[in-house]
Each structure stands twice: as C-alpha cells, then as structure tokens.
C-alpha cells in the first residue's frame, strides 16, 4: 500500500526527491509528479528531502487516482 502522499498543487517539480529515491519510484514530467506504487517501499527518504514540504507520510495509505 502506498503511504506517500503528494500534497496537491504544492510541488515545484524540482527533482530533488527523484535523485534520492533508491527505487526509481518517482516519475516527474515538466509539471506532473507521480509515485509508482509497485516500486515504492515507503522508505520515507523522499519526504525528508523535499525542500518545500510537498510529500507527507500517511500511514492510512494513499489512493492512487488512476483516472488522473
């Protein structure tokens, strides 16, 4: 279950979290970010590294919106 939440509209698409993610589980386009649930191990390193507090650990799990 994915437990890393991306707060909507806060991401600056800077790539800092992508550079530290050990699983290559974060995909970043020009202005689109997505965590790949199947790869993510919920290690929380991306949460620590985001300079502007966009990522949060949510122990209840995060629903991935497949329509988005």
């Amino acid at each position: 279950m994915l437990m890393i939440e991306i707060l909507p509209d806060k991401c600056d698409f800077c790539g800092c979290c992508v550079g530290i993610c050990p699983e290559d589980a974060i995909e970043l386009k020009e202005a689109e970010i997505r965590i790949i649930e199947e790869l993510c191990t919920n290690c929380v390193k991306c949460v620590w590294s985001c300079p502007i507090e966009v990522l949060k650990f949510n122990r209840n799990g995060v629903k991935v919106n497949l329509d988005a």
């Binding site: 600056d12 800092c16 979290c17 550079g19 530290i20 020009e30 390193k45």
Partner: protein, 389 residues
C-alpha cells in the same frame, strides 16, 4: 528529425548543451531532447560562477551577466561579518539567458534541439544502449543513437535505466529553496554566505545580488536536517527576521547532489554528464562550470568513438573525467564533511581569528587558514587538493 543520430543528449542544461556542442563540432549528427518547453527555464540556481572557469567556453556578455562579483562576505553565527576580496572574479548569471545561449552555441555547431520531448526509456541492442524512447506532443517516439549522453540533471533517471546506480544518499543531497526578491539592500559586487545552525545546518545560506536591489536568497540543508525542519521553514524564518518587507519575485525548490562523482559514469553506449553524473563541486555546491567541463569532455569522446567506429572509447570517459576534475571533488568532499559538522562555537572561533587579520591580509585563503587552525585534521585533505591540482 532523423531516424538515427550519432549522438543523442538528454537534457538541455549547461552540461547537455556543452556535450551536444562539443560532439557536433567534430562533425557527428547530434539530437538534444529537453522535457521542458523552454531551455533555461525554470531557473533552479543561485547563478554564481567563477568568470575564469567559464571563460574557455563562452565569451563574456552583459546580456547573461546580472552582476560582477569581487568580494565574499562571510557571516558567522554570532553576527561577525568578515569581508574578503576575491582573487578571481565571479558573476551572478541570468541563467535563463545563459542556458539559452549555450544551447544556441550547440545549435550553431549543427546540433538539433527538441523541447517538450520527455525521455522515458532507453533502447538496447545486445546489452548496449542503442537509443532512446520519448514522448513528444503526446506521441511516443523511438530514435536510435550510437551514443546516448544523459544530462538529465539531479533526477538522473536515464543512467539508472542503463543499470548505473545514480541515486544518492539523502544525507548528501542539499535540499534547497530560493527566492528572488527585490528591496534587498546589499552590495551588488558581493556574495553573502551565512553559516550556523540557525541559518542552514549542514549547508549554508546565501544572498547573491542581481543588481537594482534584487537578489537570489536561498539555502541548502542536508537531508538529515530536512527530516526535522524543511529548507522552506529556514527561509521563512530568515526573511521574517531580516527582510519582512521584501517583494518576492519567484520561489523555486531544488536539490544539489553534494557528493564525489559516481564511481561509474559510463556503460556501453551511454555517458553521464553534469548533475546526472554528480559532477557538482561537493564543497561549494556549484555545478554550472563543472557540468560544463564534464559535458565538453564527454561530447568530444562520444564523437571520437563514433568517428573511429570504436564503441569502447565511450568507456574511457570515466578516467578522463576523474583526471580532469573528479579527483579534486573527492578531496573537496572530505573538506565538506569536516566543515559541515562544525558547531556554531567553532564557526565563531574562526570568525574571531579571521576578523583579527589586518585588512590587507583578508583573503579567502587566510580565512581558510584560520579555519584550519581550529580543525587541523582538514589540513591533510587541503594539502592534497594543492598537490593534485
């Protein structure tokens, strides 16, 4: 667009543009793909460079220089400010224009450039990288290449797809936030650095002037700090205390990989340059000029490998970079590790020794010597920098 190129470069930052230019200059066909719609924007950078280090690559031009720097001002935890003249001058760039100019120089050599082209995979031919997959205007494309140069910045995903371990320890990532603000009354020839736990523990806080009372104001903290307090909250605290009435023109986030270069920056058919290879100077966090050097070295080798029909030449880039720059970064990294763990008291002691230097003796070198007196173990590492220079 052709079906096949000699060299494909992924990412049009300074490292990518230099690689594209140096390869194209040797007469091979080059395509550079950039996911953003504009080269040079958004600017995720403090924009400080040494004039001498970029001089071999681009003529000075006021259109990409926001201000000329000839002094550093170091501000220590107890408020002591030590100003030192620089032996080598620097610039604060307008990177939006600078990056664009570098891409133009690549285009002038014959490189093709495509923006809004998001690379999302590699092609392989018997274990060797043989091209890229990308999305362009919503359509998937595949283009073959004899050599792929990954210049995709801090994210560095392209190298991972080729089996290189490019992610770095979160403690080595300087997690940064920066604003460009006006109403900042600082000297336009001085870069200001703040040290200590209130400003930016395991990193530093900077004000880099851009002229007309505007400045880049930002900081980086190591990932270990970010765990407890984000870079953004340090910035908010600083601005409330020092410039509560400043107008904020832009705000950006960013990561600077402050480590020695990756052990392997090549694999069959692929080379990594710039932030993607972790070619940033780990002590200063400056990656513009070192990425440009990496790009130029890789571009030339890639072209030679194509022209001589010798794919193995690509693999010589590991050593070429190490000799040119990489080995210095190993030493800079050791110095960084020592300095970043300085306590506020230690910084204040350095401030005192530095402040006591007579004005005509105030130089970065002498301030550094003052720092060494308080931590002699760094001395060995510093000695090495000079020996292997």
């Amino acid at each position: 667009m052709l079906k096949e190129y000699d060299v494909i470069v992924v990412g049009a930052g300074p490292a990518g543009s230099m690689a594209a230019r140096y390869a194209a200059a040797k007469g091979v066909s080059v395509l550079m793909l950039e996911k953003d719609r504009d080269v040079g924007y958004p600017v995720r950078c403090g924009e400080a460079v040494s004039a001498t280090r970029i001089a071999p690559f681009i003529d000075p031009d006021e259109k990409y220089i926001a201000s000329h720097i000839n002094k550093f001002s170091l501000i220590f935890p107890n408020g002591t400010e030590v100003t030192v003249p620089l032996e080598e001058n620097g610039y604060i760039l307008e990177r939006r224009i600078f990056d664009y100019e570098l891409a133009k120089l690549a285009a002038n050599e014959g490189a093709e450039i495509l923006t809004r082209a998001y690379v999302n995979g590699l092609l392989f031919d018997g274990g060797k990288v043989s091209g890229v997959k990308f999305e362009y205007r919503g359509e998937p494309h595949e283009v073959k290449a004899k050599v792929v140069i990954a210049a995709d910045g801090v994210e560095s995903r392209v190298g991972r797809w080729a089996g290189l371990k490019t992610h770095i320890d979160f403690r080595d990532m300087e997690c940064c936030v920066q604003i460009t603000a006006s109403g900042i009354n600082v000297n336009s020839n001085t870069c200001y650095f703040y040290f200590g736990k209130d400003y930016a523990p395991n990193g530093y806080f900077w004000i880099f002037p851009k002229g007309n009372n505007t400045a880049n104001i930002g900081l980086g903290v190591g990932g270990m700090i970010g765990k407890k307090k984000s870079a953004l909250s340090f910035l908010i605290d600083f601005m409330e205390k020092n410039y509560p009435n400043a107008s904020i023109l832009t705000q950006i986030a960013g990561g600077v990989p402050c480590t020695p270069t990756l052990k392997k920056i090549t694999a069959p058919g692929i080379m990594l340059v710039g932030d993607a290879a972790r070619q940033v100077n780990p002590l200063s966090g400056g990656g513009i000029s070192s990425g440009m050097i990496g790009g130029s070295v890789a571009g030339e080798i890639a072209a030679e490998s194509v022209k001589q029909k010798s794919p193995d030449l690509v693999l010589t880039y590991d050593k070429a970079w190490h000799e040119r720059q990489g080995k210095k970064h190993i030493v800079y990294n050791k110095i960084k590790n020592a300095i970043y763990n300085f306590s506020d008291d230690k910084f204040n002691n350095i401030a005192e020794s530095a402040d006591n230097l007579p004005d005509n003796k105030k130089s970065l070198g002498n301030v550094f010597k003052a720092a060494l007196i308080h931590n002699p173990s760094i001395l060995i590492d510093v000695a090495k920098v000079f020996v292997i220079k």
